[in-house]
């Protein structure tokens, strides 16, 4: 028993550093995903012609390919045309682009679920379509999008582990490193798993609290978005 | 004296701290039509659901043709085959067409040959006037048609008694008539029925006895003449006149709206 505890204590500092990198990657990717995803969702929802087509193609291509492939294209592929990225920026960009397509779809779902009467009423008081989207539709949609968006947050934290494939020293990669020194794969992986479970439960708790705080009566969307 | 089909003795049911049924007794004879009326929340649905054990009563006994139904001993699925039930909100199986809805009990429960089951299902649907709708899915039927399919589904099992829980209260007024007509035919044909309904016209024409259920007990019971025109209790009189008023004012509003 003591032996296991001592082992855990000996590897914990390393895993902790890895966890911080994982969280850093997730935060960066989510933010990048938001910055790209929101305009793309507006382009797909309200855009016309070529703009809409580009948005649709972007979303479908990203969602139709594995994240690892996107990651290796960016990290191993781009140098072929002279774009060389460090591991961490490459990971954040790949994860962020991936997330942006999913976030765009969440936003679109939320926008479409807002009653068409809202737009009509906004236009009836003389708003332009642009104003109506910015002042009436988006503020409502952003609230509605929180539950699926928090799912994306959980997904992202889990999926940052693929960054280990390009040797970013995040949680999973540190676990693998420790395994190669200690030759105790199952024990190390067990503790890595425990850390993921704890962190994700904490994140879910925090998100729930935030959701409860900003909820408006009669304005909920189900959390279990499968 | 006619044969007893159903006997309920001193039935009690509590939900949490509130006692919904406080000792209900009732006997129904073969071919008899009993209409149950009473204010909302007095346990009419609970009573019907206890009869076929969709809900378990806390105490009291139920006899079907003098056979006591005992949970654990009696095969409830057998009992339920003999008791038809029609629900307020139809509960048709949404993934099955009308004729499949009617035949599934025959095939899966009674193990009837599929072809025979279809023939019987067709006959039952014809009986409720839906021979042209047999291949429609529930979503493609009006409320009145749905309820008639539900009646056919229950009838197909050749039940000894039919229970109706407010079969017309989810229907638009213009659709109520077609369902009541089917139920009247059924009553005329000698089916034993317990009907929870506030359609007083139906009660007057078809009921042998009316039960006024209030606060979880049978407050008054008697022939339609007695309950409508000569009730023993003031409460019964008040309730009947309240319902009559509701109905007539509802109808007036409608004609005013037109």
């Amino acid at each position: 028993m003591m032996e296991h505890v001592n082992f855990l204590i000996s590897i914990l500092p390393e895993l902790w550093k890895g966890l911080l990198v994982s969280l850093e990657l997730s935060a960066g990717a989510l933010l990048l995903g938001l910055i790209i995803g929101l305009p793309v969702s507006l382009a797909r929802t309200y855009g016309k012609g070529i703009i809409k087509a580009i948005a649709v193609a972007y979303i479908e291509l990203i969602r139709g390919t594995p994240m690892v492939v996107q990651l290796v294209i960016i990290y191993f592929g781009l140098p072929d045309i002279g774009i060389v990225l460090d591991r961490i920026p490459a990971a954040i960009i790949a994860l962020g682009i991936n997330s942006s397509a999913y976030q765009a779809e969440y936003f679109r779902g939320a926008i479409l679920s807002i009653d068409s009467g809202q737009m009509m009423a906004a236009e009836a008081i003389g708003m332009s379509k642009r104003q109506a989207v910015l002042n009436i539709i988006l503020p409502q949609a952003l609230r509605l999008v929180l539950p699926p968006w928090s799912n994306e947050l959980v997904y992202m934290i889990k999926y940052t582990s693929v960054a280990f494939l390009i040797a970013v020293p995040e949680l999973m990669a540190r676990g693998k490193m420790i395994i190669s020194w200690t030759f105790k794969p199952l024990e190390v992986l067990f503790w890595v798993g425990v850390i993921y479970v704890i962190v994700l439960s904490l994140v879910a708790k925090i998100v729930d609290t935030i959701e409860a705080k900003i909820s408006i009566p009669g304005f909920q969307m189900s959390r279990e978005s499968f | 004296m006619a044969k007893q089909i159903l006997r309920i003795e001193n039935l009690r049911k509590k939900y949490g701290d509130t006692e919904v049924l406080k000792g209900v007794s009732l006997t129904v004879e073969e071919g008899e039509v009993v209409v149950i009326i009473g204010p909302s929340g007095t346990g009419k649905s609970t009573l019907l659901r206890c009869i076929n054990h969709l809900t378990t009563a806390d105490s009291g006994d139920i006899y079907l043709e003098n056979q006591k139904i005992e949970r654990g001993k009696t095969d409830l699925n057998k009992v339920r085959q003999q008791i038809g039930m029609v629900f307020q909100d139809f509960n048709l199986f949404n993934h099955l067409t009308a004729i499949q809805n009617v035949s599934i009990g025959l095939v899966k429960v009674k193990k009837m040959d599929k072809k025979k089951a279809m023939e019987k299902a067709y006959k039952e649907l014809a009986r409720v006037g839906l021979e042209d709708k047999i291949n429609h899915y529930p979503a493609e039927l009006s409320g009145g048609q749905k309820q008639r399919v539900a009646i056919a589904r229950a009838l197909a099992m050749d039940p000894k008694i039919m229970l109706f829980d407010e079969p017309t209260s989810a229907l638009d007024p213009e659709l109520i008539g077609e369902v009541l007509a089917v139920m009247k035919d059924l009553a005329m044909a000698g089916m034993t029925m317990i009907v929870v309904s506030h359609e007083l016209g139906f009660a007057r024409d078809a009921a042998d006895r009316i039960v006024f259920l209030e606060n979880g007990v049978v407050s008054e019971i008697g022939t339609p003449e007695k309950i409508f025109y000569n009730p023993e209790k003031q409460r019964t009189k008040e309730f009947i006149s309240k319902i009559t008023q509701l109905h007539t004012s509802g109808n007036n509003q409608e004609s005013a709206g037109l």
């Binding site: 390919t65 996107q70 191993f76 582990s161 794969p185 439960s201 | 099992m157």
Partner: protein, 220 residues
């Protein structure tokens, strides 16, 4: 001119890459089947089970859904090589199946619970046993309702199967790595081609499931 030579090398490797598609599909298919089976059992345990099986299903789903696929994959891989005697192929299939079963259990649970209580009652009132109710009345409706979410999950499993390459299984992604390793300046093109192949696969998969959905649709 140099670029052309590299390009040509990659293009001539396409048949070699395509051979990995079979393996990718095999992994995906097996994982989906096992995952659907476990997922459905878990969902049934969750909705109709006693308190122990229900609690197990909840905890299983919670924990598995918090673990990255890679963690599950390596756990099973080491378990497979140290204790059980499984091939890396089976370890991959099992890891994907375990991972997706948790998500599928949520899908099936949601769809079972979305079928109104009246359906069960009406079936009981006809004299069906609870087992018959579930089999003939609840599941036919619930599984149809689950299909759109399920096909989404199927696409996820297909894409996740790319991670099998870390265990050295010669599926699409792994073969891509070989091609890249053999010639310089070929990574971008190779991985783009791999991406396109995956895109075609997921499109075909989701299209065919969409078709199945339409075929099975009930008016509602």
């Amino acid at each position: 001119m140099g670029i052309n030579e590299h390009t040509w090398k990659v293009i001539s490797a396409i048949p070699y890459l395509l051979k990995g598609v079979g393996m990718t599909l095999k992994i995906t298919f097996l994982a989906l089947i096992f995952g659907a089976f476990f997922g459905l059992l878990l969902a049934l345990a969750r909705v109709y089970g006693g308190s122990i099986s229900r609690r197990f299903a909840i905890v299983y789903s919670r924990i598995i859904r918090s673990l990255p696929l890679l963690v599950i994959l390596f756990m099973l891989y080491y378990l497979a090589s140290e204790i059980l005697d499984l091939s890396p192929f089976l370890a991959v299939v099992l890891a994907l199946a375990v991972h997706t079963s948790a998500y599928q259990s949520e899908i099936f649970r949601g769809s079972i619970q979305s079928i109104s209580k009246g359906q069960m009652e009406a079936a009981l009132a006809l004299g069906m046993s609870k087992f018959q109710c579930v089999l003939y009345i609840i599941l036919p409706q619930a599984l149809r309702r689950a299909l759109p979410y399920w096909s989404n999950e199927a696409a996820i499993v297909l894409k996740d199967s790319a991670l099998a390459y870390v265990l050295g299984i010669a599926e699409l992604m792994r073969r891509g790595e070989y091609v890249v390793a053999r010639s310089s300046q070929s990574a971008l093109l190779t991985y783009l081609i791999i991406g396109i192949i995956y895109f075609i696969l997921t499109s075909v998969l989701t299209r065919s499931l969409l078709y199945a959905e339409k075929k099975l649709r009930i008016p509602c």
